[in-house]
């Protein structure tokens, strides 16, 4: 079985967000990590590899520095890494990103493609389903459990108040929730091998069946009109009171506001 996993290198928002003096994000000052949902997707692929045997190829699109997440993935147990990087691919929205990744994946053999549900920087959850559309294969989003049965996958697909047990013939694309599993750590031997391993680097010319009109900033149908820091409602009153005073204070406010 051949599995392709798409991963993204993202700024680590947990460590706090840093801004430039002009208010834009200072990406250089923020640590980067493998996007958590993607890491769960990779772990799911590695578990399928452990259980059924599989070749796991990790694909990322980004700046040359994004090679780091490929090496991390290989240190966890992925077999191959493909970095898709090219100036003309920059500034892509989800349409152009999914077009690019689909163009790269067309060069690979696959039974299963796993992506994370969404990345913590954009939070769109769109790239996975859009890749599946470009490749004309079924998609199962929001996977909380994945099993293989013959030539099919059986997936628990999460909704707000239920889950569906869904069966799809491979090839198929699955988007993974971080609740899916607890990703493994890199092994020392894995890290050693991963830093020696060859990474395949593809540019625009290597993408298959892709029109220039659908790539990069120019090929993105959505355009940013304005971006800014979130303007938050200002702080109200802050008081330090002993418990009885605090209770009267809250009760008064609720009365004034006609809540009680």
């Amino acid at each position: 079985m051949k599995i392709v996993v798409c991963v993204k290198q993202v700024p680590d928002t947990k460590g706090g967000v840093k801004f430039n003096p002009d208010g834009t994000l200072d990406r250089g000052a923020m640590l980067t990590i493998m996007n958590p949902d993607d890491k769960a997707g990779l772990e799911a692929a590695l578990r399928l590899k452990d259980q059924y045997g599989a070749e796991v190829t990790v694909v990322t699109m980004g700046l040359p520095k994004a090679e780091e997440v490929l090496r991390e993935a290989m240190a966890m147990g992925a077999d191959k890494g493909v970095l898709v990087t090219d100036r003309v691919l920059g500034g892509a929205d989800t349409w152009a990103t999914s077009t690019t990744l689909a163009g790269a994946i067309r060069n690979l053999d696959y039974d299963l493609i796993i992506t994370g549900r969404q990345a913590i920087d954009g939070d769109t959850a769109q790239v996975g389903p859009q890749i599946s559309e470009h490749l004309n294969i079924p998609v199962i989003s929001y996977a909380q459990d994945i099993k293989i049965e013959g030539d099919s996958v059986i997936v628990e697909r999460q909704y707000e108040d239920r889950y569906h047990v869904v069966k799809a013939k491979m090839p198929c694309l699955i988007t993974a929730l971080s609740e899916l599993n607890e990703p493994r750590y890199m092994t020392p031997g894995g890290i050693f091998d991963a830093y020696k391993a060859d990474i395949t680097v593809w540019g625009r010319a290597d993408l298959k069946d892709v029109d220039d009109a659908n790539l990069g900033l120019k090929g993105s149908p959505t355009k940013i009109a304005k971006a800014s820091d979130k303007v938050r409602k200002g702080a109200g009153e802050k008081v330090t009171l002993d418990p009885d005073e605090a209770v009267s204070y809250i009760v008064d406010k609720l009365k004034v506001k006609h809540v009680i």
Partner: protein, 348 residues
């Protein structure tokens, strides 16, 4: 693509178990505003099996027209038949704007359909308005009018971006649940109902549903609650949430929580407020023992009144609270519950 051909504001009227989801009514409310600005009509797209009878409800919430695709293939949500139906409607009717709820269904359906009809899609919008692109006239670039401007948070709520889709149609957005306002239903309103049959030819993309497992939810949806008593890690233990439950009960409210509480396994995910949980805007939001990480604040800052109780005077929750009390929740909350009980009894 002749952009002028595309007319009307269309809403995906999500239903589950043949019951229209609240998000569909919220989208209709917003669609009505947008349609007024564009001097056009609101159309609801209702997909399912045995759902024709639901069209009147959509009319009551603002739909001028309802396009119904009623087919057994659409009984329970599956990406392909739904995407096929929606993309077929778009290709046939050429809407200018298509709104889809940013639900577990819409966030799968929206991207699949937008890729099929080759247009842009903006995710999880919180503000939609009609305006110009670019916002200010710029030399050498034509300023387009009557564009859908879609505003959304990104970076876990740290930034907001306003996005347009000026050269493709339809302009598509998924919209966060709980953000847009429904209109008061107009009793007896009728819409023009049109049945549409795109034809369904099952193939590999029509996945098979083997089983449907519903989670047992015995609480009110926190998105519908008028008063939320929300607890964070500072509550200390799952048992200690009893204090919050007692307070909620007195006020006729509901308990919700922060992500830390869900991650610790103290409360189920459907009670989580925040970027990766639900967006709420109750009349009163009590933030108790919640530090106020930006991801949490993104999900509750639109609440009418925010009351925070936290022993850490520097907790960021105080930056958004209308009334912040620095103190020990274990001492304050039980006394508050008793005091409110007395107040409410006295006012009866």
């Amino acid at each position: 693509m002749n952009l002028e051909e595309y007319k009307g504001v269309y809403v995906f009227a999500q239903q589950v178990d043949n019951e229209i989801s609240s998000i569909a009514f919220e989208l209709l409310g917003k669609a009505k505003d947008l349609a007024k600005d564009l001097n056009t009509e609101v159309t609801a797209m209702l997909l399912g099996s045995g759902i024709k009878g639901l069209a009147d409800q959509l009319a009551e919430y603002g739909a001028d027209k309802v396009i119904v695709v009623d087919d057994p293939e659409l009984k329970d949500y599956r990406t392909e038949p739904y995407a096929h139906a929606l993309a077929s409607i778009i290709n046939q009717y050429k809407p200018e704007i298509v709104l889809v709820g940013a639900t577990a269904i819409g966030r799968d359906l929206g991207p699949r359909v937008s890729a099929r009809v080759a247009t842009g899609l903006t995710a999880d919008c919180t503000v939609l308005e009609i305006g110009d692109f670019p916002l200010q006239a710029m030399p050498g670039q034509e300023q387009l009018h009557n564009q859908l401007l879609m505003t959304r948070p990104a970076f876990g709520g740290n930034t907001i971006a306003t996005i347009a889709c000026p050269y493709n149609r339809p302009q598509m957005a998924t919209v966060r649940a709980g953000v847009m306002q429904k209109i008061d239903p107009i009793k007896g309103a009728k819409a023009v109902v049109e049945e549409f049959n795109p034809g369904f030819t099952p193939d590999n993309k029509y996945v098979e549903i083997l089983d449907i497992v519903k989670s047992v939810v015995d609480t009110v949806d926190i998105m519908d609650a008028k008063i939320l008593v929300s607890g964070g890690r500072g509550v200390g233990s799952p048992e200690n949430f009893k204090l919050l439950e007692d307070l909620a009960e007195v006020l006729g409210g509901t308990v919700s929580c922060s992500r830390a509480v869900v991650d610790s396994g103290w409360k189920p995910k459907d009670l989580q407020v925040g970027q990766t949980g639900k967006t709420v805007r109750p009349n009163v939001y009590f933030a108790i023992g919640i530090s106020g990480a930006i991801q949490h604040v993104a999900g509750m800052e639109e609440s009418d009144i925010i009351i925070a109780i936290n022993k850490d005077a520097d907790a960021p929750i105080f930056d958004v609270a209308d009334y912040g009390i620095v103190g020990d929740l274990n001492k304050i909350v039980p006394k508050l519950t008793e005091a409110l009980k007395a107040e409410i009894a006295a006012s009866k």
